[in-house]
Symmetry: C2
Subunit: 151 residues, 2 copies
């Protein structure tokens, strides 16, 4: 890694499997989305103990984001009624590094397969990391958000 | 991206600046750690609107993690009193992809500089992404954790 803003190479540790093969503008209910994460079998043992957590954090690669250079400002979720926001102020997949981060419910682990609820990743998304969800560390009390989030 | 578990190249969007230059076994109080994140000046505009959120999620590269292949199982935080856990069940930096994920308080934004509280990244850590913290989406109610977390 050299230079002020270095590059690094990552390798997927797993792949998302679900029935969502194409990006959709439809707003889905996250709790209705069940996915399987297939972890690289050489890493199966690294999942031991994960089943003691009810929730996990999935970092994945949003491989279907448009490949053109991301715009620095976007309308959140395509909502033209909301003023343009910097891309780091929204969760758009079109980011310089297309890492998605979702907190999901871990329903089951069987060997190298995790069954999870609430993962908004498309089928085939490479998974970069799995972390246990730690209340307090991963959550923030009394977090303030702008009004466009809830309107 | 080819192969079942593909590789991808990322480029840092920023760098962490604080007074912590070396890994330490000391347990620091996160809320006492103030850091500055210097964002690539070409991305300054992408921060607009972030200041409307009280908390943000920082994804960064744990560049000082040991470079040898990570062990699949570890004692959490070096605690020998806790049985070995799979690395995906703990937050050890020695992971296949060394992405750190911390929810921090955004104290101030000035141009391309973010001043944050509670970031457990070392000085010089490359930053991969900044996301707004969304209560409900990023938090989980009634999350269950194993007893070794709280003991």
């Amino acid at each position: 890694m050299t230079g002020k803003f270095p590059e690094m190479t990552l390798k997927a540790i797993g792949i998302v499997r679900n029935k969502f093969r194409e990006p959709s503008s439809e707003r889905l209910k996250l709790e209705e989305i069940i996915s399987e994460i297939e972890i690289d079998p050489s890493l199966t043992e690294a999942l031991d103990g994960l089943e003691d957590f009810s929730h996990i954090i999935v970092l994945y690669w949003m491989h279907r984001a448009t490949s053109k250079r991301s715009s620095l400002k976007v309308h959140p979720m395509g909502r033209k009624d909301v003023p343009l926001q910097g891309l780091f102020a929204v969760r758009t997949p079109n980011r310089p590094n297309r890492i998605g981060k979702t907190t999901v419910k871990l329903l089951e682990r069987q060997g190298n397969i995790l069954r999870v609820q609430g993962l908004d990743a498309l089928d085939g998304s490479p998974v970069l990391d799995i972390k246990p969800y730690l209340p307090g560390y991963d959550s923030a009390d009394n977090a303030r958000v702008p009004t466009w989030i809830t309107s």
